[in-house]
């Protein structure tokens, strides 16, 4: 799942792959508040998971965001 999240960031948000680590925050990767909304929308669209921009912004770190996505996808 982390690789999928990573590919959304490289393809849609022009983040260089070598900058993306599990403990990266969205701020580290140069995503401002509106880009965070776009990221949440992209996660929903590409991964078919319900996740709000608030959740994405609050979790901040990619590993935590990925963990939530995995939990949500297992439940459904």
């Amino acid at each position: 799942m982390f690789e999928k999240v990573k590919s959304i960031l490289t393809a849609g948000f022009q983040v260089p792959a070598d900058q993306i680590a599990p403990d990266s925050t969205l701020d580290d990767l140069g995503l401002d508040s509106l880009a965070t909304v776009e990221f949440a929308l992209a996660l929903e669209k590409d991964l078919g998971v319900e996740i709000s921009d608030d959740e994405v912004a609050d979790l901040e770190r990619l590993d935590k965001i990925t963990a939530l996505i995995e939990r949500r996808l297992q439940i459904t």
């Binding site: 401002d32 508040s33 509106l34 965070t36 909304v37 776009e38 949440a40 929308l41 921009d53 608030d54 912004a57």
Partner: protein
């Protein structure tokens, strides 16, 4: 009622009138001369030119001098729209504004008086940043129903009076301005005929953008509001998401109703809320960037004034030409939103401003 009576009624019925449409006859924009640049804002709040530009696309906005308010802006734009339409009389004035000069009465009657229009119908309309499209729909309805042959619709805002000058979330975005349009009765197939309009609302999200104090809700509570409650509060991130989704949805609906594909759109004019929202909406719809009209760099978000001002600026600059197929979309506090289509008519747009390069 017997058969004879019914026959008489049928005989007396007038021949079916040709469908009557509202046609755009004039368009204008008016921006107050006082400019507030990003550098001006950086001097008083923790922000920077780069921060503002990358997040909003805005480099300057305008504000009224002390003592001026919405009536003066609305009258300036209204006068220009009448001139643009070569018209000195209308049957009704609709003023879309979030910043009326007073809670009571509406500002439109004073504007009508100032324009010398006599005892015409005049009222305010409150639909914030979608106000111009709501006013447009109202004018189209009035003309279609035969209540009026010509309607002046104005979007005029002095957001500088409701924005906290120290709030870096909103002070950087909003500006004062006015824009107006004249609609006349005409044929549905002539250029300028207003096509399908879709409007929508979601009152469950009224908290996303609001001025908490000053209305009946606060007065009825009987508590003394904090000074900050008289200022506009906005949850930018949530607004972005809803704005994008709703404008995309409404745009697709009016494209369908118009029988247009996205590729048929020559120009796309969105409410100038934030350059990134407009870009995101255009991208989602598949409208190429070069077809998206924009003037937010020079004026910021001017709420109900935004669309007519954008159209007047674009037409004056030659970016909007007769027979261009135009898609309009707007979104604002309420939540409220809308979209419409029309084919641009051969009119002379009048735009008065002092944008700095």
């Amino acid at each position: 009622m017997n058969t004879t009576d019914r026959d008489d009624m049928t005989a007396a019925r007038p021949t079916i009138r040709r469908a009557r449409s509202a046609v755009l006859a004039g368009i204008s924009g008016w921006v107050p001369p006082h400019t507030v640049t990003n550098a001006d804002l950086s001097a008083r709040i923790d922000t920077s030119d780069e921060w503002i530009r990358t997040r909003t696309g805005i480099s300057q906005r305008h504000r009224v001098e002390p003592g001026l308010a919405t009536r003066e802006l609305a009258s300036e734009a209204g006068r220009l729209a009448l001139k643009s339409a070569a018209c000195d009389q209308v049957d009704a004035v609709i003023l879309a504004t979030t910043t009326p000069d007073r809670v009571c009465p509406g500002t439109a009657p004073e504007v009508a008086a100032e324009l010398g229009l006599g005892p015409v119908a005049a009222h305010d309309l409150s639909a914030v940043c979608a106000g111009f499209l709501y006013a447009l729909a109202s004018a189209v309805g009035s003309i279609a129903a035969g209540l009026a042959d010509r309607v002046l619709i104005i979007g005029a805002e002095t957001f500088s009076t409701i924005v906290d000058p120290m709030d870096r979330g909103t002070a950087i975005i909003f500006g004062d301005a006015a824009g107006a349009a004249v609609l006349r009765a005409g044929d549905p197939d002539e250029p300028g005929a207003i096509g399908p309009i879709r409007l929508g609302s979601d009152g469950t999200r009224s908290d996303l953008i609001q001025v908490p104090a000053g209305g009946a809700r606060q007065r009825s509570a009987g508590t003394e509001p904090d000074r900050s409650e008289y200022y506009l509060r906005m949850q930018g991130r949530k607004v972005y998401r809803h704005a994008k989704e709703r404008m995309v949805e409404a745009s697709r609906e009016v494209l369908d109703l118009s029988g247009w594909r996205v590729g048929d759109v020559d120009r796309f004019a969105t409410h100038q809320a934030n350059a990134r929202i407009s870009e995101a909406v255009a991208e989602e719809l598949g409208v190429p960037r070069e077809q998206v009209l924009s003037n937010i760099e020079h004026v910021g978000n001017t709420s109900a004034a935004s669309l007519p001002l954008l159209l007047a600026d674009a037409a004056s600059a030659g970016q909007l030409r007769p027979h261009d197929r135009l898609l309009l979309a707007a979104f604002g506090a309420g939540l409220v939103w809308g979209a419409a289509t029309l084919t641009w008519p051969d009119i002379t747009a009048l735009s008065v401003h002092t944008y700095r390069d």
